[in-house]
């Protein structure tokens, strides 16, 4: 095997391989590796800082979201209370209006009833006077004589009572 037999080249191989490796090592270490390693580190740093920045932004966004949600809920509750208040107010107003109207109606009814009663009394009074006069006149004609005051009154009262009774019966029917 030449690798074991060619002893004469051993010195040269060891010498040149170690020298060459040493030279390559020095050159790479001095000129090639530092810029590349620096670039790697810079990139790593950039990525890290950007990730951190994005995480901070995310956190902020979440905080803002939470705040907005809270505000939205507050606004919603406020709106609900406003609607509730308005509806209560409307209800109250409605009730007030209703009761006022009812009172007014009752008042009007009472007025009308009173008026009717007054008219009725007035009418009855008139009927009474007409009936009295009619009864007296017809009785005088029938008897061909004039009646004294006592009979006049009795006749008139009887007739009136009868007429009124009849009227009431009629109205009842």
């Amino acid at each position: 095997m030449p690798q074991f037999e060619q002893v004469s080249v051993f010195g040269s191989l060891i010498f040149w391989s170690l020298i060459s490796f040493g030279l390559l090592f020095v050159l790479l270490k001095k000129y090639a590796f530092p810029p590349i390693l620096e670039a790697l580190e810079a990139r790593q740093e950039k990525i890290r800082s950007e990730i951190e920045a994005s995480e901070t932004l995310k956190k902020e966004a979440q905080e803002i979201k939470l705040q907005l949600e809270k505000e939205f809920q507050g606004a919603h509750a406020k709106a609900e209370s406003i609607v509730q208040m308005a509806s209560n107010e409307a209800k109250k107003l409605q009730e007030k209006t209703l009761s006022e109207t009812q009172a007014k109606v009752r008042q009007m009814q009472a007025d009308v009833e009173r008026e009717i009663e007054t008219s009725r009394i007035k009418l009855l009074k008139e009927i009474r006077s007409y009936t009295a006069q009619l009864t007296i006149a017809s009785t005088e004609k029938f008897l061909k004589k004039s009646l004294d005051e006592k009979d006049k009154k009795r006749l008139a009262d009887e007739s009136i009572e009868e007429v009124i009774r009849e009227m009431e019966e009629r109205s009842r029917n």
Partner: protein, 245 residues
């Protein structure tokens, strides 16, 4: 047609004869191939640096970054995060150097310097010495406690120390032999198959030739895997002496 020895292509002959203080340091094919491989690695990295390292990487920069990140992860895992910056350049250079030497040898007519046991041995011994230096440098004489695994009964200590010494010495040997054997075996298989292809008539020669293509693909994977294993084990050995058990 006689078949050439499949081991013949491992022979080296001086291209530029040279000697320093009696030591023959002639430049041969293996050295030139290694230089080309190293130059390609350095060239690729300088291409990235000279082209301007940008925050948004291009294709070559991505590749360079991927390699450094990968090796950085390895260093962090086996040596520790605190020593990443200290050891990353060395481990990355080692990985890239071995990878370049392994891969350049797959080009027909080229040479894999890592198929020379003396080369892998020199690296393994160098790394072994380095681990000893790191160990003593970090822990002083307490480093010798690495020879006594924790929890061992005192009676066993005289037995454990020789065993631990042997296991420690076995590390550089296994490290060197693994890389050398893998590279040699792969190239030998390729040489055998190619020899068969060349020495047979065309109607049957296409078969071993086809195999050389497939094995060559496999060898690319092996070249990468062996470079990875060599550097991983280096990290493990350095990590062991730093962490001590």
């Amino acid at each position: 047609m006689s078949m050439e020895s499949p081991l013949h292509h491992f022979e080296l002959h001086p291209i530029i004869p040279m000697s320093v203080m009696g030591l023959d340091i002639s430049i041969n094919k293996a050295v030139i191939a290694m230089w080309i491989g190293s130059a390609v690695i350095f060239g690729v990295f300088m291409l990235v640096v000279k082209g301007g390292v940008s925050l948004i990487p291009g294709k070559v920069q991505s590749l360079a970054e991927m390699i450094l990140e990968f090796i950085g992860g390895m260093v962090e895992e086996f040596i520790g995060e605190a020593d990443r910056a200290k050891f990353l350049p060395f481990i990355a250079s080692l990985f890239l150097f071995i990878l370049a030497c392994n891969l350049i040898g797959l080009i027909p007519g080229s040479y894999t310097i890592t198929s020379q046991l003396v080369v892998t041995g020199a690296f393994a011994v160098g790394i072994f010495i380095m681990t000893l230096v790191i160990g003593f440098g970090r822990h002083g004489m307490h480093f010798l406690s690495v020879l006594v695994p924790p929890g061992v009964p005192k009676v066993m200590i005289p037995l454990m120390i020789p065993i631990e010494i042997i296991s420690m010495l076995a590390r550089p040997i296994s490290l060197a032999v693994r890389l050398f054997a893998n590279m040699t075996a792969g190239h030998t298989v390729l040489a055998v198959l190619f020899g068969l292809a060349m020495s047979s008539p065309l109607w049957v020669g296409w078969l071993p030739f086809g195999f050389t293509v497939i094995i060559n693909g496999l060898e690319i994977a092996i070249a990468i895997i062996q470079a990875y294993i060599f550097t991983t084990l280096t990290c493990v050995y350095i990590g062991d002496v730093i962490k001590l058990h």
